[in-house]
Structure formats: structure tokens, C-alpha cells
Symmetry: C2
Subunit: 496 residues, 2 copies
Amino acid sequence: MTAYTKLEQRFTRLSRLSDALGILGWDKETTMPLGAAETRGEVIATLSVMAHTLLTETETTELLAAANAEQDALGVWQRANLREMRRQHAHATAVPADLVEAAARASTACEVRWRRARGENDFSGLRPDLQWVLDTQREIGQAKGEALGLSPYDALLDQFDPGTTQTFIDPIFAEIGAALPELVGRAMEQQDSRPEPTPMDGPFPIAAQKALGEKLMRAIGFDFERGRLDISTHPFCGGASQDVRITTRYDENDFSSALMGVLHETGHALYEQGRPADFLAQPVGQARGMSLHESQSLLIEMQVCRSDAFLRFLSPLLCQTFGDQPAFEAHNLAAFLRRVEPGLIRVDADEVTYPAHIMLRYALEKAMISGDLALADLPAAFNDGMQRSLGVCVPDDASGCMQDVHWPAGLFGYFPTYSLGAMTAAQLMQAARGALPALDASIENGEFGALVSWLRDAVHGRGSVGETPAIIAEATGGPLDPSIYLSHLRRRYLRD
Amino acid sequence: MTAYTKLEQRFTRLSRLSDALGILGWDKETTMPLGAAETRGEVIATLSVMAHTLLTETETTELLAAANAEQDALGVWQRANLREMRRQHAHATAVPADLVEAAARASTACEVRWRRARGENDFSGLRPDLQWVLDTQREIGQAKGEALGLSPYDALLDQFDPGTTQTFIDPIFAEIGAALPELVGRAMEQQDSRPEPTPMDGPFPIAAQKALGEKLMRAIGFDFERGRLDISTHPFCGGASQDVRITTRYDENDFSSALMGVLHETGHALYEQGRPADFLAQPVGQARGMSLHESQSLLIEMQVCRSDAFLRFLSPLLCQTFGDQPAFEAHNLAAFLRRVEPGLIRVDADEVTYPAHIMLRYALEKAMISGDLALADLPAAFNDGMQRSLGVCVPDDASGCMQDVHWPAGLFGYFPTYSLGAMTAAQLMQAARGALPALDASIENGEFGALVSWLRDAVHGRGSVGETPAIIAEATGGPLDPSIYLSHLRRRYLRD
């Protein structure tokens, strides 16, 4: 048996562990009784350590070295697989086991603390645990940076979005940041000149919301033989290979947030369900990174499902589901679902103001990791940034720097992928429109097959065989270009 | 750190793996989409192999040897823990890894085949896979028998019910077997002389059945902070430490089977939820074995919940839940829920005829393991046994030797624990009645606290600190005595 084949077997075992963790994590958020939380944490930690050991033990290192000599005998996918194995191995071996464990304990403790502290608007109560998390993440950034030849923050970014660096992000965010204030201002002016949208008349029974969500998921291409839709406090796409589980939360008085959430997660799920069948359990078969992943959710949620064509398709479905009402007219849905309004909360932000939330977090987390920003100064810096970028006055830390779970959970380097994803989505949609001239007509007819096939060829089925820039360039003809995103925003929100 | 302490850490990791497998198994039966079955099988196999490796690797063997010298410094529970570690280790090391894997693959394949073959009443279609399972189980019995100094069948028994042997079972089953035919005959005669029970008038909405089940679970002492009730095709008690999950299946036309199933599984769950808190993740903190486990489910389902006292408690609850009807009168419930009738299907059998089903399977599986019975002759032997013991004519293999999943699943040596459990339940209930003179009055008032406390002291909280015979003797003052079970049956069914 070749070293490469042995590595494939080893990474298959890793994939099984990761699948187990995926189901245990899904269960924790959707199903687990509260009293099991502590033990479940231990179970998840134990499996995580086992995966880490499998990835880092001497035999893996030796097999990776031995596989070098076999490189020429391998095909394109196998060679890319080896590259991805090396990447995972480099990340994992860069960090000593006790630091991995400390970081896991810190973020578990801090997440629990955060839930209470946010409820009580008590940043100083959160600070000690958050400091612990930050310290461990800085150490991880340092260690991985040294191993990978990256700055600490770039090394953290690389965990979520392989290959992405500050040098790549900075000019892109600068271009968006320069254009955004005027764009937001003009969009709101135009919006203010139009009549207010007719309000929707609830309640909207949860069973009906769920049925509509499932109907749309099916129409778009979600495979319920290999996936589920459930309820959790924080919507996510998780589960395991061949078992992709998305969640939402319902509000009887507002169907739109659950519905748009379901469509968002469906975009993620299509990516997971469309990964290359022959390499599902291998690194090369995994989704390429979080910015491309987010591009898939936002392509469905924002590019497709907030388009005029989709809203014309949705309008009669809403009438069928909840009974006819004037607010369900497509034009009114557009006014309602594409409302621009600078606000406090990132997850509630519209497509136009969203990047401002991200750019602020990006700047702050870079400074926290570099040591330029102390946690004691985070609330003021956050509030100041909100005031300057969106003109929004933050009334308390609960709706300010404590609103997101990411930092308590140790996810430094994750935020930028949301906006990179939004830009990638715009660029992919432009390319898809070029390749499929009847795309909008299909969407209006509720036919998504051609689009999903195109995405499958261009993105989903590529797994990690190419790096993100290569996937974008092959699919769209060029590198990630923020002006395409800005054009999309101008076209949609300024009617330019 | 002492060798013993290192062993405790090691077995804690094993417990986490086992918890993970418990949740993955629960999910597989209740939640998993069908298309995930194959990958889930691989995930479960991978974790099982990891657990097996952890238990059998050299370091474990060495630590167990080193811990011998520390024995004197250990307390009673620690010493018992070490004994149980050795037992698990002996079972696991007795079987080579490739045989473990072959047995797992055989039973996985055979279970799938069985579902179809039973549907098609096709024993010859099942036979090749069942032969594969039987061969691997005979090999396992052989290997474990040699390592443990037991006969192959005793070694298989020992997996489910440590310490139980044919020598122990044979005279007990002989006593039951000798008394049963007359008892069944007389019970049916008496039954025939009474009027037929008034039929229940459905439908019984599933939501109401579920609410009633949960209410009774809560009353009896099930802790929903550390457990759940869900739906599966085959009811079971599973899940993980601090997360005990029972399942049932509902029939709109008959609430009693789901309800009695829920009460049965609640008995299992009380055992799991009552295990010793300080040793939850250690071998000594585990439930002692399947016959004691079954004694707890049958004590609740049969001894308590089919008693006159309980039926007087249940009667008004049924009226509240489903609306008043004459069939809910306690006397009628008794006639309905304690009906004796020799039948084809073990899981539908009443308390009096049930042991006959078990004794037949016990005789057949002993003969299959010893090689005295070839699979080709199994259907005829099964049908012949049913005719002789219960006077029942088996019309087809689907309702004959193919009715149970146990053999296809490789569970040879499991069946006897059902009847040993029934006898143990009768003996424990007799002892509880002695210790708690007001027990029946409490049950009639829906108060189960004193009984559950008694069970917690006598059984649940003992974990595996004592062997099964010791637990029974301490709790009841003597060894397992089948005449107590026969007396119970006579009292309840013959009004002797």
C-alpha cells in the first residue's frame, strides 16, 4: 500500500470523527436536554483531541514525507488532496496539544459566560473569560504564523479561509469602505422618496412557515434524503457528510426572517450536498473555505431570493400559504425585504450596510490580535466605529461589542469571510447570468436546476481541488473584484 | 499519578466515546435521513474501533498489571472498578481486531437484509448473511471462552450479563418451564369464565398520548432535564450519561401499547439516571447487566403499572386525557392489560406466556452456537418448539424464527436476560413491598418516590460495585428464586 493510500485511509477516519462531531454539535443545539451540557462538552472535547492526535501523530508526519516521492504518480485530485492534507497537518502540528485544549476550554467557558453577560449587559463580567480566549487565540496565531510563514492574524484567517491574507483583504475593503457611505445615503434618500411598504398581516402559523420553507428548499434543490430542516436558537448549517442539517427559528409575527434564514442556510447546504462524491471523506472533497461557503448562502439568499424575479415567484406562494393580502405583492415584498437602514445589529443588517459591520469587526480584531487594542478599550472603540461608519449610536454593550458570539467562541479571523462571500456571490451571479441567459425567467418560474448545475460545476463539485482565487477566476473569468458587488448594490438599491 | 488514576482517565475517554456512540445510535433510529445510513454506519464503526483500540492497546494492559500492586490502597468502589476494567479488557482482548470488524460488518449487513427478508418471508434469502453472523459469533464465543475459562455460549452470555452461565440458567428455566403449561392453561380457563373486557373507543390522538406518557414518566421520576422521549420504529432506551433518551411508537387506535412501552423504557431510564454520580464515566458506575436492567423495566411496566393499585391511579387520568368511557374503569383495564393468550410474537406476549418464547430461543441459540443446530434446520426447530411449548402453529418464518432482530444483529446470549429480568423484578418487588408497607397505597395515589428511592439504594446507585447475585441477595435477602415469580403469576392470574 502506498503512503498516499494510507493517508487517504487516515483522513477517512478523520472525516468519520468530524461527522460524529457534526451530529453531536447539531444535537447540542437542537435536541439535547440542558442537564447534558457539561458531559456533552466533554464528549466533544474528547473526540476533538482524538482527531487532533490522529492528524498530528508521528505516523501522519512520516506518511506525508513518504508521499512526496509518490507525487508524480498521482492525478490532479490526489495531488490537491495531498496539498490539503499538508495544510491541515501544518495547522494542527503548529499548536501544542495543551494550547489546543486551553483554547477549547477558554471558548467553551466564555461562550457560556457570554450568554449571561450579554443578557445582563455586563461587559466587565465577560472580560476575564474573553481575555483568556483572546490570549489563547493570540498564542495560536503566533504559533501558526511561525509554522506557516504568516503574520499571526493571517494565520488565524487561514484557518477559516485558506490563502486569504490582510494584504488581499485590505484593498478590497478599502474600495468598499470608500464607496459605501455615499451608497447608503443615496439608497436611503431614494427609499424615503417612495411610499412606505404595506405591512404584512400576521400571525403566520409556524407549521405553515415550515411547510413553505421546505417547499422552497426542495424547489431550489435541497435533498431531503440527505438532510433535514430543524429549529435552533441560532440558525446554522451543520450535520455530516450525506446528512446536511440546517436550522432556523420561527416568529409567528414575521415569516420573513425565518424564511430568508432558511434560504440562506439552503445555499450553504447546496454546497455541502454538492461536494465531489468521490472525495467526500477527503480534505480535497471539502468546501474550499468560509468566504466561498458564504458566497453560496448569499448567492441564494441575497442574489437569487431577493431578486425581482424570485419575489414574483414567491408572491403567489405566500398567498397560497398564508392567505391573500396586498403586502404579498412582489413590489411590496421588494420594498420590505430590501429595506436599507443603518442599525445596531449585524445579523439584522441589510445587504448595503452589512459590510460596515464587518469592516469594523475586522479592524478591531486585527488590533486585538496585534495587541494594539486592549479589551478594556473594546467597547469604546466599537461604539466609536459604529458612530463613524454608520452614524449609529450604540446604547449598550449588549447591542454593541457583545452582540456576536464569534469573539467569545474564539473565532478571530472569521468575520471578513462574510463580506468576501457577499462579493464573491455577486461576481458568481454575474457569471451565471452570462452563462444562463434565461436565468431570471427560470427563477421567476421557480426553476433553479440550471443555476444549481452551474454552481455545482463551478464551485460545489470542485471541493478544494483549486484554491479560492482559482475557483473564482475559472468560474467568472477574473479575480475577486469588489466593483462587481458595488455595481450590484447600485443596480438594486439606486436603480442606476 | 498512580496506574489506577491513569486507568480512570483512560476509561473516562472510553465513556465519552460510548456517549458519542449512544447519541449517534439514537439519532440513527429517530432522526437521521435515510441517505445517511451508509456513512453513519462507517462513523459508528470508526468510533467503535477507536474504543476497542483504547481498551486493548498495550498501555492499558500494562496499567492494569501495574494497578495490581496498588490494590490495597484502593477503596471498595475503586477495587470493584478495577475488577470491571479487567472484565472489559479481558472481553476485548480475547477477540482479534479483524474478527471484531468482521462481526460488526456481518451483523450490519444481516440486519439490513433481515428487514427485507422478513418483509418478504424469505428465510433462504436471509440465510447466507445469518450464517456469516453465526460463524463470527461462534468464533467470538470460542475466543472469549478460551480467554475467560468459559464455554463459548457462556462467554457470549457474559457479554450481556456478567457472571451468568448456563449452569445458573438451566435449573431456573427448568422450574419455570415445568410450571408454565398448567399455569397458562388455568389462567386462560379463569379468563374465559369472565366476561370479555369492554373495548376501548378510539381514536386516541398522538399528542394526547405523548402528553400522558410524559406526565406518567414525570410522576414516576424520569428527569427530563437529563433525558427525552421521542419516536422510533423500535422502542428503546439509549442516549448517553446525563442524557437518557427513551423512544416509543404511537398507534392512534390503541394507546396502551405505546403507553406500556413508555413505562417499560422509563424503568430502564430510571436505572440509567440513577447510576452512581461519582462513577458515571467509570466501568463500576455502569448498570450491572442486562438481566438487572430488564428487571428495572419490568418492575415498572409489569409489577407496578399492571398492578390493581396503578390501574386505579391510571383510570381517571385516561378519562381526563381521552374523555370518559366505561372501558377506562380500573377493573376493565386489568382485564385488558393482563390478558393471557399464547401467540406468535414475543414482543406482543403477555407476562405468563413470555418465558416460553425466551426458553425456546435460549435452547435454539445454545444449539446454534454449539453447532448442534444448522441454520437450515432453524425454521422447523422453531416452529416445532412453538407448537410444543405454547400450542401455537407458526404460519410463516416472518412470524417465526425471523421475527426478532437479535440473531441477525449478532446478539446471541441476550434472550435469557429478558426472563431472568422478569424473575428478578418479581423478587425485588416482593422485597420492596416488605420494606415499604404502604407501597400499594402510594402507587394508587401516584406517588412513586419511596419505591424509586428504594430501587436507587438497592440497584441503581450500586452500579457495578457488586455482582448481580450479590445485588439481588442484598436487596431481597436471597438468591434469584423463580418460585417468587411463579407466585406472582399465580397471585395475579389465578387469583390463588
